[in-house]
């Protein structure tokens, strides 16, 4: 009630100032994205004289050629395989470990938790050379596993922390009841903790998926067969090949970020909450 009245009381000048400022920032965000998408519909000549406006002739072939080619889809599938496996492994491994830290008393539990939290303090790039040598010596170079396993490992610190805090806040009565009935830890984890933890599974899943889907440095170093490249690596190669044929590069960029944008708009609430909560809570 008070809110609506204060809206009405807002002077017209304030309102103009607000909308002008917000629209200006929105334009700065959107113009590069929109011109990229439109640029994919232009010829190179058209792009040169008219980078801002609508295409003088809508050229569909840039997009159509990419969509009917094998390259784009292969990269998308590669990224999807890597991201889904990473998410699955992260969820399984970190929820199990977090369960121990949340509910089981054992010698050195705190020290062990702190050990995992060291991972929160430095970026994966720090140890990228020794990591490369380790992956090479394990024979995992140029395989998806060479990307997936380090990604899972580097996500563990945050995921374990998020899961542990969530498990700890589940109502304690549950345990009393279950344990009295003779339920062991493993069954408790599987039948009670996990089913009750959907929100945190979603948070960890979203954070892990987004960072894996967008990741560049690990695949760049671990993979060297082009048919295995995930899309961020793929667009860099594509841009290297087609150089100044910007209309093709722009169409390719647009198609590669399109899934992200669509999913973002469909699941915006969860994604924004997941990405900010994931950062804040850890």
């Amino acid at each position: 009630m008070t809110d609506t009245t204060s809206t009405r009381r807002m002077p017209i000048g304030t309102r103009i100032y607000l909308y002008l400022s917000l629209s200006l920032v929105a334009a700065i965000v959107l113009v590069p994205l929109v011109t990229t998408a439109l640029g994919g519909f232009k010829t190179l000549g058209d792009l040169r004289v008219n980078p801002f406006g609508l295409p003088s002739d809508w050229v569909w072939s840039n997009y159509v050629d990419i969509l009917f080619g094998e390259r784009y889809w292969r990269q998308m599938v590669n990224s999807l395989i890597i991201a889904c496996t990473t998410v699955f492994l992260t969820l399984v491994v970190s929820s199990m470990a977090a369960f121990c830290f949340a509910h089981i008393r054992f010698f050195g539990a705190n020290q062990l938790l702190n050990y995992f939290l060291i991972g929160l303090m430095f970026p994966a790039a720090t140890a990228i050379l020794p990591l490369f040598i380790r992956i090479r010596d394990l024979g995992l170079l140029d395989s998806y596993w060479g990307v997936i396993l380090p990604q899972v490992a580097f996500g563990l610190g945050m995921s374990i922390l998020l899961f542990r805090n969530y498990f700890r806040n589940l109502p304690e009565d549950l345990f009393q009841a279950a344990f009295v009935d003779g339920c062991g830890y493993i069954r408790f984890f599987w039948y009670i903790s996990l089913p009750l933890s959907r929100p945190i599974v979603a948070t960890v899943g979203i954070v892990t998926f987004v960072s894996s889907w967008n990741s560049y440095i690990l695949p760049l170093i671990m993979l060297n067969t082009e048919s295995k490249y995930p899309w961020p690596l793929g667009i860099m190669v594509y841009r290297g090949e087609f150089g100044t044929d910007w209309q093709l590069v722009l169409a390719f960029i647009t198609l590669t970020i399109l899934p992200t944008i669509i999913v973002f708009f469909l699941a915006q609430k969860h994604i924004i909450a997941g990405l900010t909560a994931g950062a804040v809570k850890s």
């Binding site: 917000l22 920032v25 121990c100 995992f116 140890a127 990228i128 020794p130 841009r239």
Partner: protein
């Protein structure tokens, strides 16, 4: 609450064994659970995070091309080379510059937008969505898009320069300008994330303080300066912390824009590590960069938390 259920439980389970089991907080299967649940995480984390970090410290004392075992011990020479290297000094300066710009431009911008978007006006949700969008996009894609924007022949900068009839600036090819162009993209990419932090922080504020101030006749600026800003303190510290950590690992965004060039003017520590350590397989030198980065990150993580965030 717990006590209540405890007494209920005791009453309904007269059996002595159950009573004992009940009193101790452990259930059956403690050891099997630990044996099954902990090792996967422990193994992955040790193998791919902790050991490589330790090895980086070890390798940094050697000159090594990555094959066989490191034998050529050079002591601290890799570090001496590093700190006498102009490109690495530039990388350190650039990392510092990115942090500075985050503090002076990005955080205030994020607060300004968050305060505006906390008002009840039409279209708030749409604006939030648009401002957060760049954060969701991959750094590589954002970098390539801006490479087009900055392109002197086909890009938006060319068109703008053409419109005003001035010579087209090749921003990313100019070693004095390129770093500022990169900084602009960093802000474009990340301000939405910081804005969301502040929106969340503002929502958590106690509304009654604001109403009291309104009754006392505080102006908009006074309310912001003396109520909102001090109460947002913990969010500001959090946002600054993320800005620092994020800037230290900046790599994905630089590669498509400039690759660290022209003439090393846009190197960061990680692009330097990649260019001089990874592509040339100078494991010792690259590991030394890793060690420096690690020391900086850990110092900041501990120091910052201790000094600025101890009350949060």
């Amino acid at each position: 609450m717990t006590n209540m259920t405890a007494s209920l439980g005791e009453a309904s389970v007269p059996d002595a064994a159950a009573h004992v089991r009940y009193k101790s907080p452990t259930a059956r299967g403690r050891l099997p659970a630990l044996i099954i649940f902990l090792p996967p995480a422990l193994l992955l984390f040790t193998l791919f995070v902790i050991l490589p970090m330790g090895e980086a410290a070890w390798y940094s004392l050697y000159r090594w091309n990555g094959y066989g075992t490191p034998t050529e011990f050079v002591g601290t020479r890799n570090f001496q080379v590093l700190f006498n290297n102009a490109a690495f000094s530039q990388a350190l300066v650039n990392n510092g510059l990115i942090i500075l710009v985050s503090l002076l431009l990005q955080v205030p911008l994020a607060i300004w937008l968050a305060v505006m978007l906390s008002r009840k006006i039409a279209g708030v949700v749409a604006f939030r969505l648009v401002f957060f969008l760049p954060y969701v996009l991959a750094d590589v894609a954002a970098g390539l898009i801006w490479r087009f924007v900055y392109d002197g022949d086909y890009g938006l900068f060319a068109a703008i320069a053409g419109f005003f009839g001035v010579a087209t600036p090749y921003v990313l090819a100019d070693k004095d300008l390129a770093i500022y162009a990169v900084l602009a993209v960093v802000i474009w990419k990340y301000f939405g994330f910081h804005m969301m932090l502040f929106i969340a922080g503002l929502q958590a504020l106690d509304k009654s303080i604001m109403e009291a101030a309104e009754i006392d006749g505080a102006t908009g600026w006074q309310k912001f300066r003396f109520i909102t800003l001090p109460l947002l303190g913990s969010t500001v510290r959090l946002s600054v912390f993320f800005a620092i950590i994020g800037s230290l690992q900046l790599f994905d965004l630089i590669m498509p824009l400039t690759g660290g060039g022209p003439s090393n003017s846009t190197q960061t520590m990680v692009t330097f590590l990649y260019t001089y350590g990874v592509t040339r397989m100078q494991v010792g030198l690259g590991s030394a960069v890793g060690v420096v980065l690690f020391v900086i990150c850990v110092t900041i993580a501990f120091g910052y938390k201790r000094i600025f965030m101890r009350h949060d």
